[in-house]
């Protein structure tokens, strides 16, 4: 992740936080999803409105018609401008697209955006879209801000991703073995960085090419057993099971 820009921001309580900026790719991805939802909403509204008017006769009568058009324009304008404002305010800086892509708008001091920031960002969106001005600004400024972000004082950051044990499938035999591993007292030799690698391995195990799985687990297990001085493990033990139990043992070693 060394190719992603980071930014430090100071909260009003003088706590320094570091964020990974959303980046152009995530922003375009999120915007494409939002524009898709937004334009289909507008299309459905327009078609629905036309259908309603065609079915109800008195809506077509002379004194009512200007009012009907006025309401139609108001609804369209509301959806056009309101989509980003409403979502960003209610979902604390996220729209459906941003939520899916896991990015968020925050203020420069890491607080949540309010309606004021959302309105400024939304009003300047058309300006940013003209001649891809926003795209160029995001590409060539250090904090990746489009015009709307400059004026509103906001930045877009990536949301941290949490991995829970539910996302990693562990075999039942691993927990028994984990207990035995903790009893050896050598699990403490594993560093957090090494634990993170085992977690990455378990999380990605399903996606690995079946032909490569054994090779990867054997390599990791071999390196790990050297670390915890258990090279003479029982030969029957499967490398993958071994890594699963080390993962559990590391998590459970200080619990009691």
């Amino acid at each position: 992740m060394k190719f992603l820009n980071r930014v430090k921001s100071q909260t009003p309580e003088s706590v320094e936080l570091e964020f990974v900026l959303a980046g152009l790719g995530n922003r375009i991805y999120a915007l494409s999803i939002d524009y898709l939802i937004w334009s289909s909403t507008l299309l459905i509204l327009l078609l629905g409105w036309a259908f309603i008017i065609s079915q109800i006769n008195w809506l077509q009568s002379e004194p009512i018609r200007p009012w009907v058009s006025a309401i139609q324009i108001l609804i369209l304008f509301g959806v056009y401008i309101g989509y980003f404002i409403i979502f960003e305010t209610l979902w604390r800086g996220q729209t459906p697209g941003k939520r899916y892509v896991k990015i968020r708008v925050i203020r420069e001091d890491a607080r949540n955006v309010g309606i004021q920031q959302s309105i400024l960002r939304s009003l300047l969106r058309p300006v940013d879209d003209i001649f891809c001005l926003g795209l160029l600004l995001i590409l060539f400024t250090a904090q990746e801000k489009r015009l709307g972000d400059w004026v509103a004082g906001t930045i877009l950051v990536q949301e941290g991703q949490a991995i829970t044990n539910q996302q990693i499938t562990l075999s039942p035999a691993a927990s028994d073995l984990a207990v035995r591993l903790i009893e050896t007292g050598k699990i403490a030799a594993i560093t957090p960085h090494e634990f993170a690698t085992i977690r990455k391995y378990l999380y990605r195990y399903i996606g690995l090419d079946p032909a490569m799985r054994n090779e990867v687990s054997d390599r990791l297990a071999h390196q790990l057993l050297q670390r915890i001085e258990l090279e003479n493990r029982p030969l029957t033990m499967d490398s993958h099971l071994m890594l699963e139990s080390v993962y559990l043992a590391y998590q459970q070693q200080f619990r009691e």
Binding site: M1, F3, L4, N5, K8, V15, E16, L17, E18, F19, V20, A22, G23, L24, G25, N26, R27, I28, Y29, A30, S32, V101, K102, I103, C132, L135, L139, Q158, G160, Q161, A162, I163, E194, A196, T197, I198, R199, K200, Y201, Y203, R204, G207, L208, D209, M212, V216, R219, L220, Q223, L224, R227
Partner: protein, 316 residues
Amino acid sequence: MAKNNYDPVGTLSIGNVITTGTTLYKSNFKRYFQVSLRATGWLIAIGFSAVIGILIGGVLSGVTKSWLLTIPLGLGWIAIVLYCLAKYATNRAVICRLAYQEIIDAPESAEVATRQLTPRTWSFLRLSWLVGFYLCLVATISYIGLGILVVMAIGVAIYGLNLSIENPFIIVGIALLIIGAFLVWLVILIRYYAYWFIAELPLAIEQTTSANFSISRSNKLSRTVTSRVVLIITIAFLMTLPISAVGSVPSFIGQIMSSVNISGDPSTQAIGKSLVSLGLLLNLLSELFVMPFWQAIKAIVYADLRNRREGGDLII
């Protein structure tokens, strides 16, 4: 300082692939652009060789009053074109290699990368032809298949169910069916493009000189995550669209002006033709800038897929 755990999985999300591509291109702009310039130079050389060939051919046939000499001249020209195309394909692959080496923290200079890939020049030409041929095959077969399906559906609706062609719902239905079929066709094409998207990389990085091996390896790596690759291609396409479209606008207008001859006015045709050549020039220019970005994206996708499928980055 509080720090979030952003990278618990160690693989790149779709958006981060694109962002990494732009960062990589931005920080290596001069190096990649020089190679891109060289690649485009080989394309321009094809045009030059054609002009020179025609001149020589003209002079020779004028002097000897015989057309027989044009045969060796034509064959020679074909050989030159093949050589230029092979050089073009190799230079494109050089950018892929530069980007990949940068990602794995073993950067190479353009000279070293070029020297490494020069022995595989003809394999790169073969590779680009094979991929192009396969894609044409997929496009033609799926186009014909979908066309038959659409015609059958319309036939069943009109003759089988006795629906009138003048019924407005039927007309809308047919229009939607055709649009839908076109979208399906597009999706099929992009999916197959995704299978062979990183076909240059194994040939550029791994110890192989076989274009076939490189293609099947690209297929194998992207098979299980095709939708991801499709999305990456789509977003990268959307991002480069403003630059790539610059050349398409004048050539589109120019084509209409020179082909649809309303007034028969020769000056309109002349303007149309010059617009087409302007569009061609702009296309070449935009390709010059956009190509390294695509090559960087390919290198990142390749690196990420290798990590996902082969776990090469999982080391204690």
